[in-house]
Symmetry: C2
């Protein structure tokens, strides 16, 4: 397993107690980056247990120097784009310095712990923000199972598009409406076709979630110059959870040149970016292609990507409904899937994306597409969980769903795990459906 | 005709002589905004004849005050987003002040002309830049003729998608690869299917241009709050030409969820933004719908939009080839079309775009889609001009095209015209095809 360094040492523990509890999402081996605000201002930080190491405060206290200090200064504007642009070396230097400051048996513990109140902010007192300016957002379609099921629902003779096994299919998404976990999801108004064939504009029925993982681009490339697959991993800064909310009613009617208003009303992401480096202990070989599938073309083939293009990440979706909450019942786990259910690696997605010379910029977001697997439990959206409505999902004694209803809340979670490594988490991506505006209110200028 | 003000006065002339020549693109009635650079730095300006009024210099010289000064200060960072965000009143105040300063019979002429060397920069000494940061780029498909022809080439029984007359169809485009006129267009590498059915990666054949007009968003809207059609015009800052370069070979193979790498290698725009205000004298009723077509739904219907949702803009595409240039021959006009060939107005496009609550931001770009008309001369891409390759386009005594070849150059031009008004131009959108990188060069990390 390549790229392991002292920050991955499973024996290392933090002097922040909450980072050491069993199944902590943010142990000292994780150290994901994010942006948070409090009453004072917005700034970059790193999660440790249930606290946030405040990069501005660490700089101000003189606890960072050299490349680690340069890395922290690069995000002094309250977003991570500058750090992303510097390339993997600087984020790595900063994580190494933080690991030294936060480890329970480190030479710098005493000095850091003495300033604890100054350099650590409890998550409970912080509001997470988008971690960076997202210039472009692209979303892929890389689960064969998701794609085949949807092809079958549409009654296609060949449910898989011809290009599916030759290239990772993708489309451009809307960057402006990406919001951080916790932002309410207002049911969109939209134009759709009723069951009786009439077209109307109103609150969109058939709202769905889609469970995805997304990569943030680190270093970019110059327009016209592709990124070889062998270099792709160095262009990925890290990963977050993505809920690609979809109004299927709008999508089915509008879609000629891909998804547009059926998705652009909001996309939710988890606030912490788990770095490419933190995931090094969890790399797996790229998912095996089924026997008989064509080999990828040479520019989508690389020995390193084949050996460790996969990542051992389990992902879940949880649903809470108003009735369940009223009855004091917790959320229902409705999806358990794994990143290895994808047909293409993130390296292949990124290399394909830049293969025509398209320039990727630091902070660009690249979604995996819905991570559905072959198993029924691994269906990662309600459309699949209900076989396109044929088998409603039981969510309570007398309650079923074929789509999300107002008040429903979806929480996505993920965890990287591997024997011999300390498991790390992604935090959560949460969103609750709010009722739509009335058409009358939408028509009044503001 | 609404919204006319003194800046539209056809009797007004500039003391900059080049603004008064017949058919000048930038007479004093136009005053489009752009961003330019010289050896010193990058800054915002306004075109007048073949000169650029330097907004920083005008501010520094004390020639602007009040709302006009506030408008100029809003783009002191060398991009127009701040001015766009202020809403139409401020750009209008700045145009009014500039018109007063530049008019040949104005009270402020003497003071301004005395500082001519300081406040005017010859276009020949400036390099135009992108006018603003483009957060999101959306492209529409609003020409019925373009859509029907492409449907027929594909052999579709019903060449028009069912939703075409119910909503303006659109997709998200790539913002990072938008470049200003004059930027070379490198033929992309890409994956495509050969005539013999084999899939390969190499220099993409079947390169095409697409002639479009595009609107820049001015004031944005809050996520979740649609923009009523009656307010849409106030959210449009102005317009430019757009060449939506397309690698049809890539597009035909990859396209499942809309265009992706077939277009994201570059999109070219003209550098000057002709304002919504400057186009007020050229408004027309929205194009009439053919008899029997359904009326738009109420949220896409507005009396003001119906009365003046159209604009009298003629557009052209010109092709120059290496052989023509070697023979000393000028470019060939291959397309003559008109904005009224669109089925939907820009107001409808913008209102539809925000109808699900999607937030538009100042500087977002909204393309019209290829502006093809019913006439053969009004076919606005080579695919249509050649009936999808069946009738090659004659470009010289012995030379034909079914797609663009290396060295070919496309120039788009447009002009607003109306009896009683001084015609205004859009400048040009120019791009020349350069040979592709070799696959070997693309595979080397840089």
């Amino acid at each position: 397993m390549a790229h392991l360094n002292p920050t991955h040492d499973p024996a290392r523990r933090a002097w922040v107690a909450s980072a050491n509890v069993p199944d902590a999402e943010f142990p000292i081996q994780n150290l994901p980056f994010g942006v948070f605000s409090d009453a004072r201002r917005t700034r970059a930080g790193v999660a440790i247990g249930d606290e946030i190491a405040d990069l501005d405060a660490l700089l101000g206290a003189g606890l960072l120097d050299g490349d680690a200090a340069k890395a922290a200064r690069a995000c002094a504007d309250g977003r991570l784009n500058g750090l992303m642009a510097l390339g993997p070396h600087y984020a790595s230097a900063l994580r190494a310095a933080l690991s030294e400051l936060l480890r329970s048996d480190g030479a710098r513990r005493a000095r850091a712990e003495a300033m604890r109140e100054h350099i650590l902010v409890p998550m409970a007192r912080a509001t997470m923000q988008l971690p960076c300016a997202i210039g472009d957002y692209s979303d892929f379609l890389t689960s064969l199972h998701h794609t085949e099921r949807h092809g079958r629902y549409k009654g296609l003779k060949d449910p898989l598009p011809p290009a599916f096994k030759s290239l990772p299919i993708a489309y451009h998404g809307r960057a402006s409406s990406i919001r951080v976990s916790g932002t309410p999801v207002r049911r969109p108004l939209g134009q759709y076709r009723n069951p009786d064939g009439a077209v109307e504009y109103g609150p969109a029925p058939m709202l769905d979630f889609e469970l995805e993982l997304a990569a943030f681009v680190g270093q970019g490339n110059v327009l016209g110059q592709p990124i070889p697959l062998g270099a792709a991993a160095d262009h990925i800064f890290g990963y977050c959870l993505l809920n690609d909310w979809s109004a299927k009613s709008i999508q089915w009617w509008e879609q000629v040149l891909g998804p547009f208003l059926g998705k652009s009303f909001i996309s939710s992401i988890s606030p912490w970016i788990v770095t490419q480096e933190a995931l090094a202990p969890f790399r797996l070989p790229a998912p095996a292609r089924p026997d008989g599938d064509p080999a990828p073309l040479p520019h989508l083939t690389d020995a390193g990507d084949r050996a460790e293009g996969g990542i051992d990440i389990a992902l879940e979706a949880w649903l809470s409904t108003p009735s369940r909450r009223a009855a004091g019942e917790g959320p229902l786990r409705i999806t358990s899937t794994h990143l290895q259910n994808l047909y293409w690696t993130f390296g292949q997605m990124l290399a394909h994306h830049a293969s025509n010379g398209c320039n990727l910029r630091p902070g660009d977001l690249i979604g995996s597409g819905t991570i559905s697997g072959a198993d029924d439990a691994a269906r990662a959206c309600i459309t699949e969980l209900t076989n396109a409505g044929a088998d409603p999902l039981k969510v309570g004694p007398e309650e079923f769903r074929t789509a999300l209803e107002d008040g429903d809340e979806i929480v996505l979670r993920a965890r990287a795990q591997r024997p011999g490594a300390v498991s790390i988490g992604f935090g959560e991506c949460r969103g609750r459906i709010e009722p739509a505006l009335s058409v009358a209110a939408a028509g009044r200028p503001r």
